[in-house]
């Protein structure tokens, strides 16, 4: 079956603009995660969805970041008033619900803020 897909694959924007990143999880996966990978760094957890609700928003770096998920399917990560430090690869992952389940990652969206 299809894996996790993300769009766009690349996004270049100007400082101060808003961007929306999209994630399509694997069908049937209730859990969905967003991570950020800065150049030369490991992955940084941003937010977790259990179905449509987000019990853990602790990783969102500022109130400029928000995310939503509709219909236990597609999720969007929105960054408002982008800053240069937001430049990174944003990765989405999905899994079944239990904590031991493997998270499967999409190819990521490479965001560059000029």
């Amino acid at each position: 079956g299809a894996g996790v897909s993300q769009s766009p694959s690349n996004k270049v924007t100007e400082k101060g603009k808003d961007v929306e990143l999209r994630c399509d999880p694997i069908s049937g996966h209730t859990a969905l995660y967003w991570y950020r990978q800065r150049l030369g760094q490991g992955l940084e957890f941003l937010i977790y969805f259990q179905g449509n609700s987000a019990p853990d928003k602790s990783g969102l770096p500022s109130d400029r970041f928000s995310a939503e998920r509709t219909g236990e399917s597609v999720s969007t990560l929105t960054i408002q008033r982008t800053q240069q430090e937001d430049s990174a690869v944003y990765l989405c992952a999905s899994s079944f619900l239990t904590r031991s389940e493997t998270q499967y990652f999409g190819p990521g969206t490479r965001l560059l803020v000029l």
């Binding site: 490991g42 992955l43 957890f45 977790y48 990783g59 990765l91 904590r99 031991s100």
Partner: protein, 116 residues
């Protein structure tokens, strides 16, 4: 707070030799442990995980990892390296329960370079 340390930024191994990529972790309670591999301009691919039971876990592409609770380690190993194993490897941890973060906590990654 939970954390993962991958003490080597880069590991160089000759093709055909055994390889080890080191990982130690800190977590409250029992851990779930994962290894992922990332090829250039690609997403992360799952290699293997430890949940419970046998401390030696076997995964994709001939890789294995050994869970050592006393040393809080989960080193990745392969008996005979291939040039195609060259990539960036990430170790990650998640607590079983008890308020641990819902996301995985990743190490900074280790570049594995296999020389022909």
């Amino acid at each position: 707070a939970q954390s993962v340390a991958q003490p080597e930024d880069q590991v160089n191994v000759a093709e055909g030799n055994p390889l080890t990529v080191k990982c130690t972790y800190s977590v409250s309670g029992n851990p779930y442990l994962f290894w992922y591999v990332q090829y250039p301009n690609r997403g992360l691919q799952f290699l293997l995980k430890y949940i419970t039971g046998d401390n030696l876990v076997k995964g994709s592409y001939g890789f294995e990892a050994e869970f050592n609770k006393s040393q809080t380690s989960f080193h990745l190993k392969k008996p005979s390296a291939l040039v195609s194993d060259s990539a960036l490897y990430f170790c990650a941890v998640r607590a079983h329960s008890g308020g641990g973060a819902d996301g995985l906590t990743f190490g900074k990654g280790t570049h594995l370079i296999i020389q022909p």
